[in-house]
Amino acid sequence: MNLLDTAHSAVEAVAGHRLRSLLTTLGILIGIAAVTLTVGLGQGAQERVSEQISALGSNLLIVLPGSSTSTTGVRGGAGSASTLTTRDAAALTDRTDAPDVAAVAPVTSGSATLVAGTTNWRTTLAGTTPSWTAVRDRTLVTGRFFTQAEVDAAAPVVVLGPLTAQDLFPSAASAVGRTVQVDGTPLTVVGVLAPEGTSASGTSQDDTAVLPQTTAAALLGGGARTRISTLYVEATGPAALSAAYQEVDRTLLTLHGVTPATADFTLTSQQALVSTATATAHTLTVLLGGVAGLSLLVGGIGVMNIMLVSVTERVREIGLRKAIGASPSAIRRQFVLEAGLLGVGGGVLGVALGVTGAELLPRVIGQPVDLSATATVAAVGVSLVVGLVAGVYPAHRAARLAPIDALRSQ
C-alpha cells in the first residue's frame, strides 16, 4: 500500500468520526492559535518599539551632560549639570576629529507658555541649529525651518510641532506667518513640523516649539548662553555608528580634559535603546510562547490518547488488514498518518483561529498583532510533527497486534 493510498484511508478514518476528530484536535487547535497570537503580539510590540526608536532618527548618538554635585553633596542625575556647551557641538562638526559624524544638533531645552491672541499653551522649547531636522529625521508640513543666519542673529522665529500649532491656531497651515509670544517676546511662526508620534520614552514629539539655539538661550535665561542640554549626533551610516561613538567620546574627553572615569557627560546610542527594548519584547514572546508550547504538548497527549482508543476500537479492522497481507509497517504507517492528519487539522484550524484573533484582538486591547507568514507555516509544521509523534506509540501497538487475537475479538 503506497503512501497515497495510506493517506487516503487516513483521511477516510478521520472524516468518519467528525466530532471525535474535531474534539481530539481541540488541544492542538488552541495551542497553535495561542502560539500564533503570542508570536504575533510579540512581533507587533517589537515592530512598534523599532518604529518609535527610528522615529527619533536612526544612526543617532545622544550626548547628555554629566551629573552635578551641589555644595551640600546632593548629586543630580545625568543631565543635571551644564557641562555641555555650543563649543562641544562645534568641535564635533570637525571633519578631521570626527570623520564619521554627519551632523550635530545641540539642543537647549526648557518649557515655556506660548501665547497666541487669547489662547495659550505650555510646551517644551527646543533651541537648536538647522541640522536638527536632518539629525532627528523630521520634515515640515508647511513653511520652512529657520536658517543658520537666523541662529547667528538670534532671530525671533519659531517652528511649531503639529499639536502645538493646532492648539494655538485654527489649523497648522494657518499658523505660518502668525506671531506667538513667549514671556512677552514675540516670535514669528515660520513652519510647522510633520507629525511623528510618541517617542520610546513616552513623550509626544509633536507637541514642541523649535527655535534658534541663541534665541532659546536668551528666552530661557539662567546659566551661560552657550549651555546645551542635549547634543544629538548623527553618524554617516549605521555601519559608522560605533566609529562615530568612539570619535565623539574621544573628542569630548580631550575637550573637557577628563578621563573616562571622570567623564562629565553621558554618551548613548539609539542602538542601545533598540536592543534593550527588543530584548524585553523578545523575553516576553519567549515566555508566552513557552506557555503556548505547553498547551501544544497537552494537545499532543490528547491525540495520543484518542489514537490509543482508536486502536483498541478497531482491533478487528487491524486483524483483518493483517490477515489479507498488511505488514506491520503498513499498519504503523496508517495510524501514524492518521495522527499526523489530526495534528495538521488542528494546526490549520488553530491558525484560522489565530488569524481571526489577530483581527479582533487589536480592537479590544489596542496592541498591534503582526502575524508573520513564516511563523504561521511553522505552526502548521509543528502541529504536524506533534501529531506524528503522538501517533508513534499507538501505531506501534496496532502494528504489534497478533492477527488471530484481533480477528477473534467481537
Binding site: M1, A13, G16, K322, I324, G325, A326, A402, P403
Partner: protein, 245 residues
C-alpha cells in the same frame, strides 16, 4: 500421512508435518490444540475439515493461514517453510498465497464492495487502475458485478460473503481458506456460497473449508475429521478419502 487432491501433475500447495501446537492459558493450564498433524494438499483439491468445537479446527485454520505459528513441526506453503518467515514474510505470504473467507465476513463497513475487494491488492502494491479492474472482475466472478459501489451494510449476508470470496480470490492465491463460511448465512445464501465454491473447484482452485456442518462438508471432494487435535476416521461420512494415521 494424509494427502488430498488430484495426484500426478498437481503441485503440492501445502504440506504439514507432525504439526504440534500447545497453548498456555491465562490460568497456567497447557492446552494441546494440535497433536502431531500430517496433511498434504495438492493443487486443485477441495477439502473439508470437520470436527466438534475444541477439536483444534480453529487452531489448524490459523496455522494454515499463517496467522499463528506451530510449536513444533513443519509447515511448507507453496514449497516455502513458513516457520522460517519473519513478520514481513508472513504478511507477504498471507497476501499472495492465501485468500481468507471468514464466518463473520470481516468486510470494512466504511468501504464500498469494490474497495474492500481492492484492499489485498493495495497491500500487494498493485497500481490504482489495475487494482480497480481486477477487483471489478473478481466481483463479477462471484455474481456481484452490479453491486460494486454498495457498502457492506447495504448487502445481504450472502452477498457480503460473496464480496469476501471475491476479496479472497482477487490476488489469485494458491489456497482459498474458508473458516465456517456459511456459519452466519441462511440456507439459500449457504447454497449460493457452496455453489460458488463448486464452481471455483471446477475451475481448478485449491480450497480448504473448515466447518462443523455436515452438509457443507458433504459438498467437498475430500473430508477429514479432527478430534482432540488429530485426524480420526469421521464417524459417518460416505466417500471420505481422509485416512487416519
Amino acid at each position: 500421512m494424509t494427502a488430498v487432491g488430484p495426484e500426478g501433475t498437481g503441485r503440492t500447495v501445502l504440506d504439514l508435518r507432525d504439526a504440534v501446537k500447545t497453548y498456555t492459558t491465562g490460568s497456567g493450564l497447557t492446552v494441546r490444540a494440535l497433536v502431531g498433524v500430517d496433511l498434504t494438499v495438492r493443487e486443485g483439491a477441495y477439502l473439508a475439515i470437520t470436527g466438534p468445537s475444541g477439536s483444534g479446527k480453529s487452531t489448524l485454520m490459523h496455522v494454515l493461514g499463517c496467522l499463528d505459528a506451530l510449536t513444533t513441526g513443519s509447515y511448507r506453503l507453496d514449497g516455502v517453510e513458513v516457520g522460517a518467515m519473519d513478520e514481513y514474510g508472513l504478511a507477504a505470504a498471507r497476501n499472495r498465497l492465501i485468500g481468507f473467507v471468514f464466518q463473520q465476513f470481516h468486510l470494512l463497513p466504511g468501504l464500498s464492495a469494490v474497495r474492500n475487494v481492492e484492499l489485498p491488492l493495495a497491500y500487494a502494491g498493485v497500481g490504482r487502475a489495475d487494482r480497480r479492474a481486477r477487483a471489478v472482475a473478481a466481483l463479477e466472478r462471484v455474481g456481484l458485478g452490479d453491486r460494486t459501489d454498495h457498502r457492506p451494510g447495504e448487502l445481504s449476508g450472502g452477498q457480503q460473503q460473496r464480496v469476501a470470496v471475491a476479496r479472497a480470490l482477487v490476488t489469485e492465491p494458491a489456497l482459498l481458506l474458508a473458516d465456517e463460511p456459511t456459519g452466519n448465512l441462511d440456507s439459500a445464501s449457504t447454497e449460493d456460497v457452496l455453489d460458488l465454491f463448486d464452481e471455483l473447484h471446477a475451475a481448478g482452485r485449491t480450497i480448504v473449508v473448515i466447518t462443523h456442518e455436515q452438509d457443507v462438508a458433504a459438498r467437498a471432494q475430500d473430508r477429514l475429521h479432527l478430534r482432540d487435535g488429530r485426524f480420526t476416521p469421521p464417524p459417518v461420512i460416505a466417500g471420505a478419502t481422509g485416512v487416519a494415521r
